[in-house]
Symmetry: C2
Subunit: 342 residues, 2 copies
């Protein structure tokens, strides 16, 4: 098995960069002209054969040029990625959009998703901050009618949940008010993730004077927080249809179907939740339907800890340098934006 020496790397890089541009298998001749490699097409041919033997390139058919394999992209991404600078114009444009959305913090993720779908020809995926990582600010129970109460949870990222609840039994407004204050004071400043069942139980015990209703509220509102986490924005799925690899609707459909299912995308984003930038090429992620696609996702932070993720889904043939730079920049911007204003 041949070694990946410097010239092979140069050729692999050139093949990938050319293929990303043209979406056509690249041959030795083309490469010899396009890239200044200083060797003849014949040499390139030999090297390409070696790269194919190593599993980094592939031939669609005998007399075609080479295209990168998933492993080829992986080597490229791992060891020769030239992360590009985002043009200043795009940076400013992103910043402005973010600043505008910040007036209602809940809207930031959607705005980011739209920005990503505008700046790339791919689908964008953005998760809201995970509730466990949000910092609890207030819980308010507002009496509406005798047996109806409005429950609102406010965190450092804005209103997390606002729901009306039907209670089995009437509850007096003062009790609700006291309950609101109690819970709010007890948990203010804590990440929601820290509000465990045992802690909740303590409070429930303390306010035993209205045991049943408190229990109900605790159950319906706080215990369900993890489930409420599944808030996700997906934009630009139609972009994918513009990619030559998905010109046929039959190949595009499973991809768009997968992107329509929020659980699926949520899973993808969760897998990325810790890493600064996660690049999953082709079959490196768990979603069967997105086999031919790459995912580039970065976590953004709230209060110094990973809170949510954002990124794009597109064909494996993509300019990783540019995409990574963009995704990283957006993650940083969101982290910053959500940290600054509160």
């Amino acid at each position: 098995m041949p070694r990946l020496d410097a010239r092979k790397r140069d050729i692999l890089r050139a093949v990938i960069q050319t293929y990303v541009d043209t979406a056509e298998p690249v041959g030795s001749e083309v490469l010899a002209h396009r890239a200044r490699l200083g060797v003849s097409a014949a040499t390139i041919r030999n090297e390409m054969a070696a790269l194919e033997e190593m599993g980094l390139l592939a031939q669609p058919h005998t007399s075609a040029g080479r295209i990168p394999t998933d492993r080829g992209y992986r080597v490229y991404v791992d060891s020769m990625l030239e992360e590009e600078q985002l043009p200043a114009g795009q940076r400013h444009w992103v910043r402005r959009r973010l600043a505008a959305a910040l007036a209602e913090r809940e809207r930031v993720p959607q705005e980011v998703a739209r920005a990503l779908a505008t700046l790339t020809p791919y689908a964008s995926v953005v998760s809201h901050p995970h509730p466990r990582r949000l910092v609890f600010r207030h819980l308010h129970f507002v009496p509406l009618e005798a047996t109806r109460v409005l429950a609102v949870i406010v965190t450092d990222a804005g209103v997390l949940q606002a729901r009306t609840l039907d209670l089995q039994e009437p509850m007096d407004p003062d009790g609700l008010e006291r309950l609101s204050r109690m819970v709010s004071q007890r948990f203010q400043g804590h990440p929601l993730g820290e509000i465990t069942d045992t802690l909740l139980q303590q409070v429930v015990d303390e306010v035993a004077w209205q045991h049943r209703v408190v229990k109900l509220l605790a159950d319906r509102i706080l215990r369900r927080l993890p489930a409420a986490s599944r808030r996700i924005h997906i934009e630009g799925t139609a972009n994918i249809l513009a990619q030559p690899e998905f010109r046929d609707a039959r190949t595009a459909r499973p991809v768009l179907r997968a992107l329509e299912q929020e659980e699926v995308v949520a899973g993808l984003l969760e897998d990325a939740s810790d890493r600064p930038v996660w690049i999953a090429i082709g079959s490196e992620h768990r979603v069967e339907a997105l086999r031919g696609c790459s995912v580039v996702v970065a976590a953004y932070r709230v209060g110094g800890r990973p809170a949510g993720a954002l990124g794009i889904v597109g064909p494996t043939r993509m300019p990783y340098g540019r995409v990574v730079a963009l995704v990283r920049y957006l993650a940083d911007s969101v982290s910053q934006a959500l940290a600054e204003a509160r």
Copy 2:
């Protein structure tokens, strides 16, 4: 110009029904066998030629069968639609899903959209109840910190809006409480649409003791209600890729792009807001990008008045009888569901 006599109508109907099934131009021979029309292929040919002259059928090319034109579908829909009964199984399934979603009323539209996208191979579009038609229940300002207040509007369809607002100046909690009560009492039971600027002005004048803040709140919250109306759910857009007319991604893309833009879909749904079932075939609606698509939308009602709309977007070649039945049934079910529980 020939008249549309009984036999022509039979043939038009047969052509449409066959074409809906097969997605292939239908010829006289096929029709003579498939439909029991009691006349020969030659006669059918003559009639088809007449129907073409009348602009109800068209030929993709000289030696192909006929396909319906938009106007052909229109005649069919207007005068020979056989609205089908929804199978009992589907009816129950829909009811169950709706009942489950009703625990949180805000979720009903999304649930309906998913149901529609499951029951049809088309994209579904559902709007939330238009705020103007919702009945005002409560407005609550909850003080969070000195210059931060949580504003919640509750209507008969649940929480309409919950936002945190930054105020320029501190505001005492009692004032907020009184303000909440005042506005709530004043407008309780009124549709939001009746809460005009002049009425608002009155209240603002009454509570002049906190003039500036009230004004701010009125502006930021109540005046913006129409804009907040744009809440829409779209599901199953990938379904469209399964339709033979959109097998090519280049024809499908503009359609999916349009369906991604909430303003566009909102416009469509608004156009339907009054009619019990609105059928727009091909070019009968305003959305350029959806030229080859039909829209079947029905308004649902809250409190006896049209409040929102739901329906599907698919190729003009669709089984209108079945689709109309389904959409109508769902609209009725939603109206009922939103009326019953409150």
